[in-house]
């Protein structure tokens, strides 16, 4: 037993010498902590909820730890245990704590529900905005292909802009993306815009955001999609409106010049899907969707 105690002391002492290292670890962790900069119009809604939740669970966690430590310290071996299966005070405490948690949950739940309805799943509003930028995305191992409709507003035509891992969008306009995958499931992840959507083969999913800050941002894949999942990285460049227009005009003209009508494989775009209202309503007929010559999906 004494041998074991000495061993324990040695362990405790060596743990003490590690303290500076642990302090250094704290600093490193603190440097890494934090959400990536938010460059979107609505990301702050998510950040706000995250911060609110963080504070709330921080308080609950502190209460929990304090409770456990106090109980162990003051109700130790020497304390006489109370014989009770329930106590009126305990039941009140139980109801109070669960009540607080339920209220907090409900508050976060409702806020999130409104945010989803009004913003993140409100594809109709984004689609109806005059300056909306529509992009079709076709994901495949291990790259993101983007297709812009070009001046004619129709997908799968000669003036489409098609890029690989290179997304360009204007500042301050809603970007509405419809995405699918050719092979396996990928997930289109925009950390700086706080949104994410799976790209599923055989399905066309939707996602929208409004970029507010110009600059270059990274797009990642968030769903394991094979060996090079970690390399499935693309760039999203937010340009001032004029610069974007200039780029779009030039790229579209280039595409039209290089269009090869026989290269069927390259025409993977699809008719833009009419964004259905978020829930409940009967879907409108697709008559608004512009007709194009080829509705083939990737």
């Amino acid at each position: 037993m004494t041998k074991a105690k000495r061993a324990l002391q040695a362990v405790a002492l060596s743990a003490l010498t590690l303290l500076p290292a642990v302090a250094r670890a704290g600093v490193v962790v603190a440097q890494g902590l934090g959400l990536p900069p938010d460059a979107s119009q609505d990301g702050h809604k998510i950040d706000g909820l995250i911060h609110e939740t963080l504070i709330f669970i921080g308080i609950m966690f502190a209460i929990m730890v304090a409770w456990m430590v106090t109980a162990c310290l003051i109700h130790g071996r020497k304390h006489r245990a109370e014989y009770a299966h329930t106590t009126p005070r305990g039941q009140k405490l139980l109801v109070a704590i669960v009540g607080v948690l339920v209220l907090a949950d409900a508050e976060l739940y409702l806020k999130s529900l409104f945010d989803m309805n009004d913003t993140f799943w409100n594809f109709e509003a984004a689609d109806q905005a005059k300056d909306v930028v529509r992009i079709e995305v076709n994901a495949h191992q291990w790259a993101w292909q983007a297709r812009y409709a070009g001046p004619d507003g129709r997908f799968n035509t000669a003036d489409d802009i098609v890029t690989l891992n290179d997304f360009r969008v204007p500042q301050g306009a809603p970007v509405l993306i419809q995405l699918t995958s050719t092979d396996v499931i990928h997930s289109f992840y925009l950390p700086n815009f706080r949104v994410k959507q799976d790209a599923m083969p055989g399905m066309v999913n939707r996602l929208w955001f409004k970029p507010m800050e110009t600059g270059e941002y990274e797009i990642g894949c968030a769903q394991h999609c094979g060996v090079n999942h970690y390399k499935m990285r693309a760039l999203l460049t937010v340009l001032p409106k004029e610069a974007y227009d200039r780029w779009a005009a030039e790229a579209s003209a280039n595409s039209a010049r290089g269009f090869d009508a026989d290269d069927v494989v390259a025409h993977w775009g699809w008719d833009w899907k009419d964004p259905k209202p978020v829930e409940g309503d009967v879907p409108r007929a697709a008559e608004q969707a512009p007709k194009s010559q080829n509705g083939k999906e990737g």
């Binding site: 014989y83 092979d183 390399k231």
Partner: protein, 591 residues
């Protein structure tokens, strides 16, 4: 007719220790098999952590041994196999056999006063089927194109024969199917045993909460493992026979199927699975906190109903794993509603634990410390679940390391620490020897501190945006600054791993060097401790007549008349007439 005759103890080595029908021996078999695979799974985790701390650098010790072809470094192709096998092994082949196979087998008959399981032969078959599945998992490592690599969730089309070709993935899916068969056999056995083999007087509301947890887990297993089985079977058909249940996109011919259907099948099982792994842990916690605080478990009935409510709701919350798959927004909102609802019973249970240790007379023995450690990590893990349950936050956090940290705190850390609490608690009964307490204390403090730091580190990385399952996260510029966090998380993980040497030594050495254990070293009243340590082949010479609940500790009347603070569930006070409750006695013929 006598339901539980005393069978003579088998004499041959083979029937005693290998093909044994004794639930206590089968429990130990599950325990050994599970601990061994816990070591495998943990070693794989260390390789992942090494890669994140020192990308592409040769892995020390293991590298030269296993990866000589690449000079000891992990390759992008090998990496997915490592995390896939880590996940599958830990969930199906380490935690499941320890918590359910070992504790379920050991404690259920002893705690309800039965001489064995209802179906001893099925019990033995369950273990041997399980061993076959473990063999299939090991075989998967040695296939030409590598082990399974489509993630533990095995989402098609990545998991189809185009996405992940080779026998490794096929064998792993087959292993899950076979282990499911074993789990169902065990589940049927546990459920029947609890319903039919409770000793007279052992009403449902007198069962130890450990048994409640294991029983509810078994019900979930019987209901939902078949769903996983059907999903797995269809996937095998897709891989081997050219069907297209889940295949869409380029690898589909003439229409194909729907990958999303697999996700529904997977998570209808997958979310209850989380509760399958945590309910036994909750039950053990409820009992241990009461035993070592020397007072009754606070609001026993509340805990029971809370666990039942969690069991019922567990099947209708699974969609929160699929918020960003493109399923209908209406469905998503429904799942969010149920997910928020399921937190209520969990909160009731949690507050019950805190109230159980309040005003007690706490003995900080190793099992109690591990139980408190479980409460601590589960509290942290449970609270972080709030971020992921709420849909808009999940848009950002989904599939990041935050999710990984969250479920490792709730499912991995909590069930790991609860397993250790259970092992330290039942070891004297199982092996008839005491474990070394000093080593137990050191093991507890180091394990709990490191495990918390490891998974908090993952939460931090995920909060900053790091996706899961990245071979080399620093390909992304926005993740560059996380190298430090990931390195420190890795150091803590290595420390956690090597801390377990204390446990391995204590566990093995105590079998030979430990002091002989008394019949009831923890001074508690449940029936398992009313047998010799270790119990005889038939457990009870006379099937006990149960008179009271499992947590009658510090009852003033008992202290007055017996001079100690506990009373056995089947022990009568000097002036008490030993009759079971009338309703139960009328059934009769049990003993």
């Amino acid at each position: 007719m006598d339901l539980q005759p005393i069978h003579p103890e088998p004499k041959s080595f083979l029937r005693r220790y290998v093909f044994s029908l004794d639930h206590k021996v089968i429990a130990k078999q599950f325990l050994w098999a599970g601990l061994l695979f816990l070591l495998f799974g943990g070693t794989l985790a260390m390789m992942i952590r090494w890669q994140w701390a020192y990308p592409m650098k040769p892995v020390p010790i293991l590298g030269p041994l296993l990866l000589s072809k690449t000079g000891g470094a992990i390759t992008p192709a090998l990496y997915p196999a490592i995390f896939t096998m880590h996940g599958l092994i830990m969930i199906f082949f380490a935690i499941t056999p320890i918590l359910i196979g070992a504790f379920g087998n050991y404690t259920i008959p002893l705690m309800i006063g039965a001489r064995d399981m209802a179906f001893p032969t099925l019990n033995m078959l369950s273990f041997w089927t399980f061993l076959v599945s473990q063999g299939l998992m090991i075989a998967a490592f040695f296939q030409k194109m590598g082990a399974a690599a489509a993630g533990w969730t095995t989402y098609p089309p990545l998991s189809d024969s185009v996405g992940t070709p080779g026998w490794g993935q096929t064998l792993a899916v087959l292993a899950i199917f076979v282990t499911g068969v074993s789990t169902i056999m065990g589940g049927i056995n546990y459920v029947t045993t609890v319903i039919r083999f409770r000793a007279p007087g052992m009403t449902y509301m007198r069962m130890p909460l450990t048994v409640w947890g294991l029983w509810l887990t078994s019900i979930l297993n019987i209901l939902f493992v078949p769903v996983l089985g059907s999903g797995g079977l269809l996937l095998l058909l897709d891989r081997l026979f050219g069907t297209q249940f889940f295949i869409a996109g380029a690898s589909a011919v003439n229409g194909g199927g729907d990958p999303l259907v697999f996700q529904h099948l997977f998570w209808i099982f997958g979310h209850p699975e989380v509760y399958i792994l945590i309910l036994p842990a909750w039950g053990i916690l409820c009992d241990l906190l009461s035993f070592f605080a020397r007072k009754p478990a606070y609001f026993y009935k509340g805990s029971v109903y809370a666990m039942v409510a969690v069991t019922l709701l567990s099947a209708v919350v699974y969609g929160h794993h699929m918020y960003v798959t493109g399923m209908s927004p209406l469905l998503g909102k429904g799942f969010m509603t149920f997910t928020v609802m399921i937190s209520v019973p969990a909160e009731i249970l949690f507050v019950n634990w805190l109230l159980t240790i309040t005003k007690g007379s706490i003995r900080l023995e190793p099992p109690m410390l591990f139980a408190l450690g479980t409460v601590f990590v589960f509290g942290l893990g449970g609270l972080t679940g709030l971020f992921l349950a709420i849909m808009s936050m999940d848009l950002y956090l989904h599939d990041t390391m935050f999710v990984v940290g969250h479920f490792h705190l709730t499912m991995a850390s909590a069930s790991f620490l609860a397993s250790l609490a259970g092992i330290y608690f039942w070891y004297p009964k199982m092996f008839g020897r005491e474990m070394n307490k000093t080593l137990g204390y050191a093991h507890f403090w180091l394990s709990t501190v490191f495990i918390t730091l490891v998974f908090t580190g993952q939460l931090v990385a995920g909060y900053s945006g790091q996706q899961r399952r990245l071979f080399e996260p620093y390909q992304y510029q926005f993740l560059h600054h996380l190298l430090g966090v990931n390195q420190w998380t890795s150091y803590f993980a290595f420390a956690l791993y090597f801390t377990q040497i204390l446990f391995v030594y204590n566990f093995v050495a105590s079998m030979f060097l430990g002091e002989k254990a008394a019949e009831n070293p923890w001074q508690v009243g449940t029936l398992d401790w009313a047998t010799p340590s270790p119990p005889p082949h038939h457990n009870f010479d006379v099937v006990p007549l149960v008179l009271r609940g499992p947590h009658e500790l510090s009852d003033p009347e008992v202290i007055r008349s017996l001079g100690r603070d506990w009373i056995g569930q089947a022990e009568a006070l000097p002036d008490e007439r030993p009759v079971a409750e009338p309703a139960r006695a009328a059934e009769g013929g049990r003993a």
